[in-house]
Symmetry: D2
């Protein structure tokens, strides 16, 4: 677990609110629990907002007690429900959201979600006097300023469980499988899964792969007896249908690979131990940062420590894939 910052409380809140937004990720529940328990423990009331920004705009605020978050630490999804809210891109709508909070006596908001959600959080912080803190909740681990996100570790494990099953069939039929994992525009999830799955190859948006060369190598492996089955992990990337096109290319070179699109199972499931501890810690720390007077930041992870990053930077920069990690993936499969 990451080390926790030491923060001095200097500010008071009667009440704060918490919401989950965007694609759900496993660990959002322990994060909400961390927020609620830490706030109550500091004498601050907590409201849960249903369905992300949509619920905030609609004023759907519900008081949460210690029991509201009982027995949820192990549950996937989010008890607060989530939504992608187009309307929140409209500044007037955001003004209404801020007004809803103020009218209910709520001085601060904690937003758990991906970069779209954190953009909304930053704008709300800038445009209102609500203190806003974001937590990185996404399986894609594609958020600038943090090395880890809530749900990433679970998604890696879910993809590996699936691949461990696919490997049985691959090996029984001496066949290659192209397995597409999530990750939006980033190859972070694919690279981790690829290393951990012992994949023959990892195909990510950040690096060019010579498919003809790959096809030649697979045929060569088969011919020399070096191997006749295996897994190729493909990041979904920007072009839908990429994985099927890769399969066709390999087919033209004499292989007969099969395609598996892992899809939405990667978003669900009991959060892993790592994600439960991370989410609990981030949730509790978000409250500490609020009480220490912080605003317009994300609480994330860097160099083994939980720390704050301005939301402004979070949404302005794009996180790059560590080239060393990608090289490790290639090295190990030779």
């Amino acid at each position: 677990m990451y080390s926790l910052p030491d923060l001095e409380p200097i500010r008071d809140f009667d009440a704060i609110a918490v919401l989950t937004s965007g694609g759900d990720s496993p660990g959002m529940n322990p994060a909400v629990r961390g927020v609620v328990r830490a706030a109550l423990n500091s004498g601050v009331q907590v409201y849960g907002i249903q369905k992300g920004y949509s619920g905030l705009v609609a004023g759907d605020l519900r008081v949460m007690t210690s029991s509201s978050v009982r027995n949820i630490v192990q549950r996937g999804g989010t008890i607060l429900k989530s939504d992608r809210c187009e309307a929140f891109k409209d500044p007037e709508i955001r003004q209404q959201a801020a007004a809803n909070l103020k009218n209910a006596g709520i001085g601060a908001l904690i937003v758990i979600g991906g970069d779209g959600s954190l953009t909304g959080a930053h704008l709300l912080a800038e445009e209102s006097d609500i203190a806003v803190i974001g937590l990185p909740g996404t399986i894609d681990n594609d958020i600038f300023g943090t090395e880890d996100t809530i749900g990433f570790d679970t998604a890696v494990n879910t993809a590996l469980d699936a691949i461990d099953k696919i490997r049985d069939t691959a090996s029984s039929h001496e066949r290659y499988f192209l397995v597409e994992v999530m990750g939006r525009n980033s190859g972070f999830l694919a690279t981790h899964v690829g290393i951990a799955a012992g994949a023959e190859m990892v195909i990510v948006p950040e690096y060019q792969v010579n498919i003809e060369e790959l096809g030649r190598q697979l045929c060569e492996n088969r011919r020399t007896g070096k191997g006749s089955s295996g897994i190729i992990v493909v990041a979904e990337g920007r072009e839908p249908g990429l994985t099927y096109r890769l399969a066709q290319q390999l087919q033209q070179q004499g292989e007969d690979p099969r395609v598996c699109i892992l899809g939405h199972i990667q978003r669900g499931g009991h959060p892993s131990g790592h994600d439960r501890v991370l989410a609990s810690g981030l949730g509790a720390m978000a409250v500490s940062y609020l009480l220490a007077g912080y605003n317009d930041i994300m609480v994330g992870v860097s160099e083994g420590a939980i720390l704050d990053i301005p939301l402004d930077s979070v949404i302005r920069y794009r996180k790059g894939l560590d080239p060393q990690l990608f090289e490790l993936a290639l090295l190990l499969h030779k």
Copy 2:
């Protein structure tokens, strides 16, 4: 576990062979183990044939010892590898296969696979003096004459694990998911999965479903607060792309469902306890049936007992989906 028949040994074999054929299914390994251990225990030598009928035609026969099947009971796939062998449809090729067995002093063959594989087994039995016994190995449970097949129970559990994860996301986003499971032309797998998943609806090739009516009901559920998320299980059926078309139809009625195609993960994974016990029993019993003088039969399950069915019937008839079971699925989700 099913009750075992009492069989009198009346026939001797110096050696028998075993192969796995067609799509692999979890439990093939404990079935092979059952064959090998039971045969050795009766003083009969066992050969394992690599890659199904392809290996038989190529004469790829390997002596198996008790240790060959050590530590495989829990492993998915098949250590003998599997294949779909088009060439075996040619009678001359089958003659060569029979000759390969005779030349190696092998008097009997046990074939573990689905109905294509059992068709080959029946033809070999008819056209040669090799004694042939089939075991039903398929996740689809679509083989006439047996109520259970090796791998079906594991596939149900694998599909349920995936759906339990998808349900987290479905419920967090108040959305319906169409989940496509395997099953070839049969709705057996889909119906079991649907009952066990608590699905809103099960769509199978055997029964017509009024999609418009379903769409209306889902919208009605959402409107009345009865429910706003859930799982609809779809059997892959005969028409590729069916599930995506259903999603489009529901979209036209105002729902925004997501599609998950579970795909090959359903064939892999550690076999379940049920499949390991079933496969072990069928494997051991296949040897007993051979020693009791049986030929050209499948060893399957009916009315709670392991028994024999002529291969002739197995391949001639099509197994129907129990209407009571389908009605149960509908009843429980009202």
Copy 3:
């Protein structure tokens, strides 16, 4: 799945009640769901009783709707909670329980539990004019008159998951492990787990095992290179501490085995697909039996079919372990 009986409704109930009793078992929730959904579908009101017979005696009856059982099919334990109620052995207490039901206009009771719970059910049926139907809910599968019980299949799978992990360590350290599974006085669970785990030996209350002989064989295996690690499955049986004593005996013969007591993890966890379908079917059928005029019976499984057995027989006889099954366990590990 087992075939379902065809039953003619001949009797009317305004309301029925359902409770879970004794040790919980995975699948109790889908069974309750089956009862509730089938009853509502037939126009019968359903009450859920909290904490088994204790709640019945206390009159803790709560109306259940279709939504009460929404999203529980996959959950372990029992939403109705369970209890062992000593007081229910007193006939006067049972009279009060019957009066509580009558006063609420409830004409029938469905009891889900093990043989202690079914004994209570039988006495209530005999001594009152409440119609009572029992369902076998126990991981031990030790109930006379039924080949299967709700929770057994899940418990087998849970034990196997644990043993698959233990096997890693056993094999890395070339050591034997004695793994104790539940099962009360019966070796049913142990024998199934033993076959499915590929155990070296299964030790059950029903059959004598020569431990010295076993020790000699393990040493012999080690000496001849046949094997130096493995799993010995032990049924908890009647004598607490048996497994530790066996370990000591083997130690005296030069082995250094380790002991694992699987304990309560065997009662929990998501019910398996098999248990969910079984429990759903038994729950729905219990209602059909009530409407068809049955009373004082258990609905169970025999020869591949769901059927009724008089509760009188269920509690009078002891179910024996199938000797063929035990022999299969021994045969496969040679």
Copy 4:
């Protein structure tokens, strides 16, 4: 994943060796694979030593190829087998071990294990001219100088899976469970598991717990309706039987808790994604450190980076439990 150091190769080895030692931990296999693949990739031959230091003393060295480590990344335990070797405490025996390596032309050794094993590694480095590098392989995460160890993350997840099952029963019976996890003298595993399990209390060797106070609180929770079931995580600690004694103490205060000792299942199982990536990275980096001229160090993790720590320090100091982490565990359960 942790960032990787940039190392300049300055030294040549014809051959190196690798062994796993002490209690096995999940991830030892991907670590061995990382060593083998990275070494071969740098043109260095690799020998695998069977059964830890015992095999080294006996001279049981086997050449490993890229295929030797094929398809092991997902397997628990260690393909090299492991052992606790008392004889290696004898300096003469260590001289013989070094001689065995030199005679085979092996200039360096990589040792994967816990602190006992790393002590042996340090002594061998000091007393011979074999270059020795240690990797932290233990589920206990109790090794000084590194924040993470191979197997820890998997053990946390395994314990959580078990506790998620136990919680079903705890909640159905309104009972508390004392769950004992491994961790030797350290509460690291227990604290992580406790946070992630949402435990009522965590009992570790590093901090005193007032059991009477705990009992009072549990009774109070039950009385006020705040909660009547839950999990108390206990580190095995130094005193065997501690968990049973705690149960007795709580019993004297009116609770009726149950005890579960998770035991050896915590050492086994497929390594988690995190452990596979960590182990792969550490394995590959151990080779890089050797080629960069390092000796007598452990490669571990600190502040989010993979780095080297002198073995001397590793074995001299005791790693403390982070008080912030323990406080977080307490905070979240209020």
